[in-house]
Symmetry: C2
Subunit: 324 residues, 2 copies
């Protein structure tokens, strides 16, 4: 048992990140490269393996030092088969046997999970939830990703598709979502939705300090909205508060379904820190029940953009891929 | 290993049911008696033990034939301590060490769970979900109770309070609930809520075939509403459909959080059979996503009012009470 590292691979639509992670969740080496998924799965998976190999060489390690590799991937996935069924972020990828193909190239066991689930496991294992206890994570980015850790393991669901928390319906007959539903959380509380809603309101003629930027055709982000809201911009503050209210309602629902110890907020929007967290906590307290004191702690993610690779490595360290 | 039965105790605000249940989930003997909780916990727990003892004698069994006893109880419970913290249905009961007290009287291990959770385990073990796979149950009665079975075990949550599914918020700033929240599922989709909403609308002057009954001061039930809706009563049909829409939204949210194989509908309102189920399934299909085919089967409970005792016995048969 002299294995000292696990390989974590965080496969996103934009970048591939590969890291060597020790038993304590510490990153010993990390590399990133653009995904360019249109190159085809063969080339992309080959590059994942090449990055891992480079990292091992740089660290003076061999595959004998590696406990295994974990891979966080966009989905939907078939965890039993170890395949990417398809993904809106990976045009042309259909039923790619990514677990086997990466495993063959690395000569190692590969553990597979949905990317947002892997990030949640990372926060559980080495971040905001490392003291233990059930944890639910919401990743507020382009969409709202989710992950559920229960008794130390990811909840995958019967159809391998648990924790799609951005698609909880929070508003009956609400805003349309690309998924075909109406009123999904991610239409109110993703980083992209917040920016989009401010942009749309400005397009409709509402006043805002961000109006000139929008009129000039420059894209705005949730950070711009947060900064404008802090400086007193009424439109930005209204959309930001609305996001926080809907996140709070999602937290109440998570409280009553899973009753976890922690709800962790991560992703681009969580970079606003207390300006997000304090508001979500306030609205949660205003809206949760008074029957008994079983409220999860709502906390900020601690691993930032490394949650994915650390969580992927944690899959290997904790040997968790029920279908492996 | 000649143990042939488990004792199941379903402790409700109205009745106590005790049954002997074999390894296949079959009831070998059953007794019920009014709870009368105001008699105090000593008397009530004594009666549970006496009923169990009578059943064993009648079946020619001794405690050596019994694998253990399970108890489904109203809560909130402290599962670690094995206590009823308090309950709106059990006036005067405070921090009652029910697990130890029943165990002492029976001379057997006692496994404790929330009553709605026990019912869900019953349906998983011997009812609608007995073929296996994660299961979520909604019990539509006075309130809406819930239970989540994941990988064969009840999800209890960090604060022992998971699966309070009736208190998922389905309408932002919706109807007030006794729990202190607004827009809880159980304000729209419990048997009591459906009856109450029809009654209120009649009080406000709306026409309905149920008006004379209400005016005469006779109570109406969800069955009355279902029958009136079937016969074309517009008010009853509107309230019934509204309940089905909100149940469907709850099912979509359960799909995306837990992604179970089954969602089981039980309790008084589920006695309407297809008149409930078909509508919930229809609204679910209209409102769930089209991204991938991971929809749980929404099915009717199969054990009726025996789900509680059978599930309580299942706690003992499957040795599940993590804190025992």
């Amino acid at each position: 048992m002299n294995q000292r590292v696990a390989i974590g691979v965080d496969f996103g639509g934009t970048n591939i990140k590969v890291a060597l992670v020790d038993r304590d969740g510490k990153i010993l080496g990390k590399r990133a490269t653009p995904s360019d998924p249109q190159r085809g799965s063969d080339t992309v998976i080959g590059e994942m393996a090449a990055l891992a190999s480079t990292l091992l060489t740089e660290s003076g390690l061999t595959s004998g030092d590696v406990v295994g590799a974990g891979l966080g991937s966009p989905g939907p996935l078939d965890l039993k088969a170890g395949t990417i069924i398809r993904s809106t972020n990976l045009p042309g990828w259909q039923n790619v046997a990514i677990r086997r193909e990466l495993s063959d190239r690395l000569g190692l066991r590969v553990y597979l999970a949905n990317d947002a689930n892997a990030a949640a496991l990372g926060e559980f294992w080495a971040g905001a939830g490392r003291s233990g206890g059930d944890l639910v994570m919401l990743t507020l980015g382009t969409g709202v990703g989710g992950g559920v850790v229960h008794r130390g393991r990811l909840v995958e669901g019967h159809f391998d598709n648990a924790a799609e928390l951005g698609h909880m319906i929070v508003v009956v007959d609400g805003l349309p979502c690309g998924c075909g539903q109406h009123g999904c959380l991610e239409q109110y509380a993703s980083a992209a939705a917040v920016a989009r809603r401010v942009q749309a309101a400005i397009g409709d003629g509402e006043e805002s300090v961000l109006a000139s930027q929008v009129t000039a055709g420059e894209p705005i982000t949730s950070q711009h909205v947060a900064e404008a809201a802090k400086s007193g911009d009424a439109l930005s503050l209204r959309i930001w508060e609305d996001a926080c209210v809907h996140l709070a309602i999602a937290c109440v629902n998570i409280q009553h379904v899973l009753n976890p110890k922690y709800i962790v907020l991560g992703g681009g929007m969580a970079q606003a820190g207390a300006f997000l967290l304090d508001r979500v906590v306030k609205h949660f307290k205003d809206r949760t029940w008074s029957l008994c004191d079983d409220a999860p702690e709502i906390v900020q993610a601690q691993l930032g953009y490394d949650a994915g690779v650390i969580g992927a490595a944690a899959l290997a360290w904790t040997n968790q891929d029920v279908h492996r």
